[in-house]
Amino acid sequence: MKKYALLSVGLVAMLASCSDDDVTPSEPVNEEEVITKMTVNFVPEGGGDTLKFTFEDADGPGGNDPVITKDDLKANTVYNTSIGLWSDEGEDIAEEVSEEDNEHQFFFEVTDLNATYVYDDEDGDGNPVGLKTIWTTTDASTGDFQVILRHEPNKSASGVSEGDITNAGGETDIEVVFEDVKID
C-alpha cells in the first residue's frame, strides 16, 4: 500500500514542480488599430482661423471618459473640411482609410444646423469617401453635428453616394456627436 501512496505523492509532486512558471506579459499591447482620436478641421475659403472639432479617448472604449472639444462656425461661409484619425500610438489611421477608400465612407448628419455638405474626394470607383468635404453654412443656428464612419458599406446602394446612410449597411467604426454646435 505504501508504495502506491508514494507513487501518487510522486506524481502530485511532479505537477507541483512546474508551478513556478511566469506568465507576465512582456509589454502592453499596442492597439494601433483602435481609433482614439478624431479631428474635424474646418478651413474657411478665402482665409481665416481653422475651426477644430476633436474627440479623444486615449484609453479606448471604457476606462476614462473621452474629451470632446468644438468651435463655433461662422454663418454664410464655405469651409474646406478634412478629417484626421489617430491611434493611441499616433498611427495615422486616416491614411489607412484612404488606402482602403473603397471600403470606407463618412456620413454627416446635422440637426437644427443650417449647414450642408458635398463630398470632395472619391475612391477608385468614383464613389465618395468623405475624408474631405466642402461645407456651406447659411443663417445662424444651434444644433448637433454627427460624424459616422462605416466600414464596408454598400456604396452603390440607393442614396449612399449622396451621403444618405439609410441603405449603407456595413459596420460603424466611428459615431461621434458634437452637441450644441453654434453657427453665428
Binding site: 501518487s8 499596442n30 482614439t36 484609453d59 472604449p61 466600414h151 449597411g169 459596420e171
Partner: protein, 781 residues
C-alpha cells in the same frame, strides 16, 4: 416489454427486465419439487453480482439473481444436473450438482474483460449507479444522431438543451445551466477549452465517442469545481480484447449547408497477449453556408478533422491504457452578426433579413474561429488484494484558440484573439471493496493550468494570462442493504489563481487569489416493487465554482454583444445547493415513466447585470454591464413517459419545465432555456424483410416564448415560441456473418419553419436554419 427505449436509462435494469421476462415465460410443468438457491459473486472481491443467470444445462430451468446476487430455482428433480452461471462480461461457470434435497450452490464469476472504467458502466453493479439522475445515449440511439455535434446530440436527453451561436456552435445546457456551471468529462479528463465563452463549443469529436451520459445534480464532490448543475460524460467504447479486426466506416451527408462527414475506425485485440488491444479513429467534416427558410446564412460554413488513438493492456489484476486525440475545427460566424456599435445592432434587429446575404458558398471568411485541441492521457489500475482497486491517471490538454475579425488595414489574417491553454491533471482514486456493506472511494485530484495570450494580435486580450492550480481530496461511501443504497460524500478543494495583465492605462496588474471550498452530498436509491424495477433516487448536494477569469478581469468592449463588460476581481466563489429527485416506474406493463424534479439554490450567483448608464466611445454609446453576484433559485421538472402501443408502435412524451429567480432583485435571470415539450411517435421492429433494427420516428418539439427573462438589459424581447417537426428512419442490413450496413435518413425542421431561439446569440441577426435532410450510410465489420 422488449421495446427499446430511445435513451437507455440504465442498461442493467433493461437486462433485468429481460431476464425476469424470460424467466416468467419458462412456465414450469415439471412435477419435481426440489429447490436450488445460492449466491453469485465476483471472484476477486466477493461482491454479489445481480442480473446473473443460472441455467440448467438441459435448458429446462432458469433463474436470475436479484440485487443481492441471490438466485432461487424451484421445481428441480432428483438426480445429477449441471448448471451454468452466466453474467455479462464474465466467463460462464459450470457446476455439476447431485440433488436429493433442497440445496445451495454458490458461483464465483471471473471477469473475462476488464477495462478501466467503461466495462463496468455497461452493467452497473450495486453501489455504482448514480444517486443523481443519469441518462445516456449509446448504441443505436447514438447511431441515429451520428453527424450532429455533441451539444445537439445531448438534446435527446430530458432536461438538456443547447446554447447556440448559429447552427454550428452549440454547448450543452443541463437543467438551465451551462459553460462554467457544468463539467464535461472527456475520456475521464475534465475538458479544458476556454468554456467560459458563450460562443466556445466543446472541442470534442462525437465520432470518437460511443457513449454520452449526463449526470444531473450537484457533482462537485467527485468532480470538483464547476460541476454545479451536472456533468456530461463522453467516452469511447472499451478497447478491444478480441483478436479479430473490427472497424467501421461511416459517411453522412446533409442538405442544409451541403455538408458531409467521413468517419472511420479500426481496432484489434491480441490472441497472444491477454488483454491487449488498440484502436485508431478519425473523422473529417466540411459544410458550406447554412440556409434559413428565406435566405442563406452567409459565412456559416465549417471544416474540421479529428484523429484519436488508444492502446492498452487490461487484465483482471492490473491494466494500463494510453489515449491521444486531436481535434481541429474552423468555423465561420454569420457575417451579418459582425457589428460596430449599437446603431448597427438596432439596424440588424429592425431588419427582417440579415444585412449581408450572399449566394451559397463553402468559403469561410472573417469573422471565424480556428481551434485546435490536443488531449492525451495515461492511466492504470491495480487491484490490491483485500483492499480495492487503485486507479492513477495523468492527463494533458493543449488548446489553441484563434478568433479572426473583420479589421482595417491588412490585419484580416491576424487573429484578434489568440490564446494557448495548457492543462495537466493527476488523479489518484482508490475504490475499496465492500466492507460490512460499505463500499466507497477516496481520491486526490491535482490540476495545473496555464493560459497565455499570444503576442501580436494588436488587440488587448479579453482575458489575462494566468496560472490556475487546484488540489482536491474527496471521500464517498455507500451503504448497501437489500434494495436500499445510501451515499454520503465530502470534498475539500483549494484553488490558487495567479494572473498578470496590463490594464487599460497600461499598468501591469499582478494578482493572486486563493479559493478554499468544501462540498458535500447525500444520496439515496430505493428499488421498489417485487423485482426492484421501480427506482427512487434522491440526491442533495452542494457544489462550488470560483469565478472564472472573464468574470474577474473582463474590461472593455465585447464586440459581438455590443456591450462594455467589466469584471470584478473581488467576486466570491459561487455556491449551490441542489436537490434532484427521480422516480422511474412502470405503472402498467405498457407504460414506463421517468419523473425528475430539481431545485437549486445559489448563493453569490455570478451574472452580467445591465447598468443604467451608457459608456461613450468613438463608436458611439454602449450599454454597460457589470459582473455582479446575487442569490438565485433555479428549479424545474422533466418528465418522460413511454407508451408501448403494441405491434411495435410507441409514443413518447417529454415535457420539461424550468423556472429561475433572482432573489435580490426580485426579477428573472437572463439566458435560461424556455419551457419545452417533445412528443414522438415511433415504430420499431427487430427485423423487417432483410432489414434488422428498423426504426421510424416522427418527432415534434414545442418551445414556448421565454417569459422568465428580465424585462431590461436585453436589446429585444425573447423570440416567440415555435413548433418543429422531424422524422427519422433507420435500419440495418446484415452483410454476411460479421458485417452490417447501417442506413439512416432523417429530416430536421420538416416544414421549413421560420423561428428564432432565446438561447441563440445570433437571434438578433437571423432566423434559425430551415429544413435539413440527412443521409447516413455506414459499414461495420
Amino acid at each position: 416489454m422488449r421495446l427499446k427505449i430511445q435513451y437507455i436509462r440504465l442498461a442493467s435494469l433493461s437486462l433485468f427486465w429481460f431476464v425476469v421476462g424470460y424467466q416468467l415465460s419458462m412456465a414450469q410443468s415439471d412435477p419435481c419439487n426440489l429447490t436450488l438457491t445460492g449466491k453469485v459473486m465476483d471472484q476477486h472481491n466477493g461482491e454479489p453480482l445481480p442480473f446473473a443467470v443460472v441455467i440448467s444445462k438441459d435448458g429446462k430451468h432458469r433463474a436470475s439473481t436479484n440485487l443481492d446476487g441471490v438466485y432461487r430455482m424451484e421445481g428441480l428433480c432428483e438426480g445429477t444436473c449441471t448448471f451454468v452461471c452466466k453474467h455479462l462480461g464474465c466467463t460462464p461457470v459450470e457446476k455439476t450438482v447431485t440433488l436429493n434435497t433442497n440445496s445451495a450452490v454458490d458461483f464465483y464469476m471471473e471477469h473475462s474483460i476488464e477495462s478501466l472504467d467503461t466495462a463496468e458502466i455497461i452493467v452497473k453493479k450495486r453501489g455504482e449507479e448514480e444517486t443523481r439522475t443519469e441518462e445516456s445515449l449509446q448504441g443505436q440511439s447514438l447511431e441515429r444522431l451520428r453527424g450532429r455535434s455533441l451539444g445537439k446530440s445531448l438534446e435527446e436527453i430530458p432536461g438538456v438543451s443547447t446554447l447556440n451561436t448559429g447552427a454550428t456552435i452549440s454547448k450543452p445546457v443541463i437543467q438551465g445551466l451551462h459553460s462554467n456551471r457544468i463539467q464535461i468529462r472527456n475520456n475521464g479528463l475534465r475538458q479544458e477549452d476556454q468554456q467560459w465563452g458563450q460562443e466556445h463549443a466543446p472541442n470534442i469529436d462525437p465520432w470518437a465517442m460511443e457513449r454520452l451520459s449526463v449526470v444531473k445534480g450537484a457533482s462537485s464532490v467527485e468532480y470538483g469545481a464547476e460541476a454545479v448543475a451536472g456533468v456530461v460524460i463522453v467516452e469511447p467504447e472499451p478497447l478491444p480484447t478480441d483478436s479479430a479486426w473490427h472497424g467501421a466506416l461511416h459517411t453522412v451527408g446533409y442538405t442544409n449547408g451541403w455538408g458531409g462527414q467521413l468517419a472511420g475506425k479500426l481496432q484489434k485485440g491480441s490472441a497472444k497477449i491477454d488483454g491487449f488491444g488498440w484502436r485508431v479513429q478519425g473523422s473529417l467534416q466540411k459544410q458550406g453556408d447554412n440556409r434559413a427558410p428565406d435566405y442563406i446564412l452567409t459565412n456559416t460554413g465549417l471544416y474540421g478533422g479529428n484523429v484519436s488513438t488508444g492502446i492498452g493492456l487490461n487484465r483482471k489484476k492490473y491494466g494500463v491504457e494510453a489515449y491521444y486525440s486531436y481535434v481541429s475545427q474552423t468555423t465561420g460566424i454569420l457575417r451579418s452578426a459582425h457589428i460596430g456599435n449599437l446603431t448597427d445592432l438596432e439596424n440588424a434587429i429592425e431588419s427582417d433579413r440579415p444585412l449581408v446575404v450572399r449566394p451559397f458558398s463553402y468559403a469561410i471568411n472573417n469573422p471565424k474561429q480556428k481551434v485546435k485541441h490536443h488531449l492525451a492521457k495515461v492511466e492504470g489500475y491495480y487491484r490490491i488484494s483485500n483492499l480495492g482497486k487503485l486507479k492513477l491517471r495523468y492527463g494533458y490538454q493543449f488548446n489553441r484558440r484563434k478568433e479572426f475579425d473583420i479589421r482595417r488595414g491588412d490585419r484580416d489574417s491576424i487573429p484578434a484573439l489568440d490564446i494557448k491553454l495548457s492543462t495537466q491533471t493527476v488523479d489518484a482514486i482508490l475504490e475499496h471493496y465492500t466492507i460490512r456493506r460499505f463500499k466507497g472511494k477516496i481520491g486526490v485530484n491535482t490540476f495545473y493550468q496555464k493560459n497565455l495570450n499570444v503576442a501580436g494580435t494588436g488587440i488587448r486580450p479579453l482575458i489575462p494570462n494566468y496560472i490556475r492550480q487546484s488540489f482536491g481530496v474527496f471521500w464517498i461511501e455507500r451503504y448497501i442493504k437489500g434494495k436500499m443504497e445510501l451515499e454520503a460524500g465530502i470534498r475539500y478543494e483549494h484553488q490558487r489563481l495567479e494572473i498578470a495583465k496590463f490594464d487599460q492605462s497600461k499598468t501591469l496588474i499582478q494578482q493572486t487569489k486563493n479559493f478554499d471550498n468544501v462540498a458535500g452530498s447525500l444520496g439515496w436509491i430505493q428499488h421498489m416493487g417485487e423485482d426492484g424495477k421501480n427506482t427512487l433516487r434522491i440526491n442533495l448536494g452542494t457544489a462550488f465554482r470560483p469565478p472564472n477569469v472573464a468574470e474577474l478581469y473582463s474590461e472593455g468592449l465585447h464586440h459581438g454583444a455590443a456591450a462594455i463588460e467589466i469584471g470584478d476581481s473581488t467576486l466570491n466563489t459561487e455556491k449551490t445547493l441542489k436537490l434532484v429527485a427521480g422516480y422511474t416506474f412502470n405503472p402498467k406493463t405498457w407504460l414506463n415513466i421517468q419523473l425528475e424534479g430539481h431545485f437549486s439554490y445559489f448563493e453569490d450567483f455570478i451574472f452580467l447585470e445591465p447598468q443604467d448608464e451608457a459608456v461613450l466611445t468613438i463608436q458611439g454609446a454602449f450599454p454597460l454591464f457589470l459582473y455582479k453576484q446575487t442569490d438565485a433559485l433555479v428549479y424545474g421538472g422533466d418528465l418522460s413517459a413511454l407508451f408501448d402501443l403494441g405491434k411495435g408502435f410507441f409514443f413518447q412524451t417529454k415535457p420539461s419545465l424550468l423556472f429561475n429567480r433572482d432573489l435580490d432583485k426580485k426579477d428573472f435571470l437572463p439566458f435560461f432555456p424556455a419551457n419545452r415539450w417533445g412528443n414522438n411517435l415511433g415504430y420499431q421492429r427487430d427485423s423487417l424483410g432483410a432489414f434488422k433494427n428498423v426504426y421510424f420516428l416522427i418527432r415534434t418539439s414545442a418551445v414556448t416564448q421565454q417569459r422568465f427573462a428580465p424585462k431590461e438589459g436585453d436589446f429585444t424581447s425573447p423570440p416567440d415560441g415555435y413548433f418543429l417537426t422531424g422524422i427519422e428512419l433507420d435500419g440495418e442490413l446484415p452483410l454476411g456473418k460479421d458485417n452490417t450496413l447501417t442506413l439512416g435518413l432523417s429530416v430536421d425542421n420538416l416544414f421549413n419553419v421560420r423561428y428564432r431561439d432565446y438561447l441563440d446569440r445570433l437571434r438578433y441577426f437571423a432566423d434559425e436554419t430551415g429544413t435539413n435532410v440527412w443521409l447516413r450510410v455506414g459499414l461495420k465489420f
